[in-house]
């Protein structure tokens, strides 16, 4: 198992929630103090470097017009880390390609970051949460279709080396694609895709990319990973799905005592508590299917969004957080591993809100030293996910 330190680079110094309608998309940026923001970036980059020293891999993401993640241009931070780090793999998860107007530009950015890091980047593609739609001014209808057309075009741009090709697709048009530089890694950097549904995961599995899911918990993750394995097998990739194809993002905080761990863990939940978003940003028409939206209106389904969480204890019970002493965290991850029938990448949301530098670093170090070696030993990268799938299918 590989573990990736993931920081959302939040800017937590916000006015009281009663004073604004939405933390996403519409919160005036007068609330952002650039001097404080620059100091925060110094700190977050230091934390990534410490995580690398401790043997963890690194992960970053991108959001727009929000204090919850003040990284609207993740390729820039990727390039910075590509130069400051020496060993770690660096995962960008990811590029919101349904919201980017030029997939070829994304291919160029990723190829350059791969060169700068001497082949250490892993490239994630995400559809993006619904509240990214308005900031991107991106049509919420046909996002999935744009996502896949862009993804295929990016891979083609990375892997075509004999001069320009043209692309005249449904959503993107390029008459002359011939990127310089081309990626350092051959044939191209590892590709990750984030999805939230079993059918979406099946499509990712069919292509063999790494599938990531965020905070989907005990209830949804097993069927999403099962969807991936189904797609993998239906595409003729064989019965065995390596665990390194599956990734799960959870809040993680480790401390010497349970009390200290839960105190830190509660601070991570700022990420969910702060997420005040009105319905028109939370669920623009076309983002979710008409069928789901009809059920939401009827009150028989929930619109897309973050899980409802009231406490660290609750979050641990739901499988969206692993927190406690090293033994407890190991046991929680192990239990989740069993529940989802195996996964090989743990994306560690290890900093959020007001969890300060010292506590963040303590959490990273203790996890890296006391939990990570045990996870690597218990769940080697050669392990297979979903070993029981066929027996289970036979039984039903």
């Amino acid at each position: 198992m590989r573990v990736w330190h993931f920081s959302e680079n939040a800017y937590p110094y916000l006015p009281p929630a009663e004073e604004y309608e939405s933390v996403r998309a519409a919160l005036p940026n007068r609330h952002y103090d650039p001097v404080k923001g620059a100091a925060l970036y110094d700190r977050f980059i230091d934390e990534w470097l410490i995580a690398e020293e401790e043997g963890l891999e690194l992960m970053m993401n991108e959001h727009h017009q929000t204090p919850t993640c003040v990284d609207p241009a993740a390729p820039l931070v990727l390039a910075v880390l590509g130069r400051l780090t020496k060993r770690a793999r660096i995962l960008i998860l990811g590029n919101p390609i349904a919201n980017r107007r030029q997939p070829v530009r994304v291919a160029e950015e990723m190829a350059l970051a791969d060169i700068l890091s001497h082949g250490r980047i892993e490239v994630g593609f995400v559809r993006g949460v619904p509240y990214e739609i308005s900031p991107a001014n991106s049509n919420p209808v046909y996002m999935n279709e744009r996502h896949w057309e862009a993804l295929d075009l990016i891979i083609k741009a990375w892997t075509s080396h004999d001069g320009p090709f043209s692309h005249e697709g449904r959503f993107f048009h390029h008459r002359f694609v011939n990127i310089w530089p081309r990626p350092y890694q051959q044939p191209h950097p590892p590709v990750w895709v984030a999805t939230t549904t079993p059918n979406g995961a099946a499509r990712v599995g069919g292509r063999g990319f790494v599938q990531a899911t965020f905070l989907s918990g005990n209830r949804m993750t097993p069927e999403i990973f099962a969807g991936y394995r189904r797609g993998w097998r239906e595409a003729g990739r064989g019965d065995d799905v390596p665990i390194d194809r599956l990734a799960y993002a959870a809040f993680i905080y480790t401390a010497e005592t349970e009390e200290a761990a839960h105190a830190g863990a509660e601070k991570l939940l700022w990420h969910i508590a702060i997420n005040k978003i009105p319905p028109h940003f939370r669920n623009p028409p076309g983002y979710a299917s008409a069928e789901l939206n009809a059920q939401v209106m009827r009150g028989t389904a929930r619109e897309p969004g973050l899980p409802k969480v009231v406490s660290a204890r609750h979050a641990i019970d739901d499988g969206i957080m692993f927190a406690g002493t090293p033994d407890q965290v190991f046991d929680q991850v192990k239990r989740f591993y069993g529940r989802v029938a195996g996964f090989g990448n743990l994306l560690m949301l290890g900093q959020s809100g007001f969890l300060d530098h010292a506590d963040t670093v303590r959490g990273i170090k203790l996890f890296a030293r006391e939990v990570y070696p045990r996870l690597k030993a218990a769940f080697p990268d050669t392990a297979i996910s979903g070993v029981g799938d066929r027996a289970g299918a036979a039984a039903t």
């Binding site: 308005s134 001014n137 049509n139 919420p140 209808v141 009105p278 028109h280 623009p284 009827r298 009150g299």
Partner: protein, 268 residues
Amino acid sequence: MAEALIGERAALDRSVLKLPEVDIEVFQGGEGPVLLFLHGGGGLQADAAFLRLLGKRFRVVAPSHPGFGGSSLPLWMDSVDDFAHVHFDVIDQLKLDHITLVGASIGGWTAAEMATKNTSRIDRLVLVSPVGIKVGPVDKLDIPDIFAMAQDKVERLIYHQPEKWRLDPAKKTDEELLTFARNRETLTLVTWEPYMHNPKLKHRLHRIDRPTLILRGASDGLVSRDYADSYAKLIPGARLETIPEAGHVPFLEQPEAFVDRIVRFAGR
């Protein structure tokens, strides 16, 4: 005139036209010269009183745009201009002529697009609270952003009496809710960017060579008086009339007055 007719049902019959690229649901009924009604972003309410009233004076033809109601939506379609082309196919297939073309909101936009292309089958044009042009300053949306405000605020902009027209999901069937959700999705697809307009349209409106009436509800919070005025000024000879105690959908809130204006305009 119209009041006495309420309740006398001039039923519209539903059928599905198999056009070359799309299946279009169309409601038809009534007798008289052809009135082609193009609905707005909320979709077509085929049982609405104004359609029954119009059916007393006209042969009413009311299609659902692609992606609305029971009409299909091919992946390649994503604009109001696509709708305009589809409705020419409807006109051809049904052999409609001497048409009174009435369009509301994005249906008004569609009708305006059609009238800039070919008026050979169109005798006159009625644009009801039409969107589709950009005439205001670059740093202000001409039409308030319905995708960036709460639904109750949208309803306050649409209706003169929002409390009377507010959607109550409990009173709708699952199928009606699904249609509502799909209509909103298609509306989003075709109006998101550029928002609620085609930048080319205002430069083409001068081509419209048929008598044109623009109707606007006095309480319309989406289409302002200035905006409707601009529309009227861009179409040669167009006249703007206001319907009191109505918002963006005067045909729902004031069906008699609405039909009355159209009947008088069409000389019926």
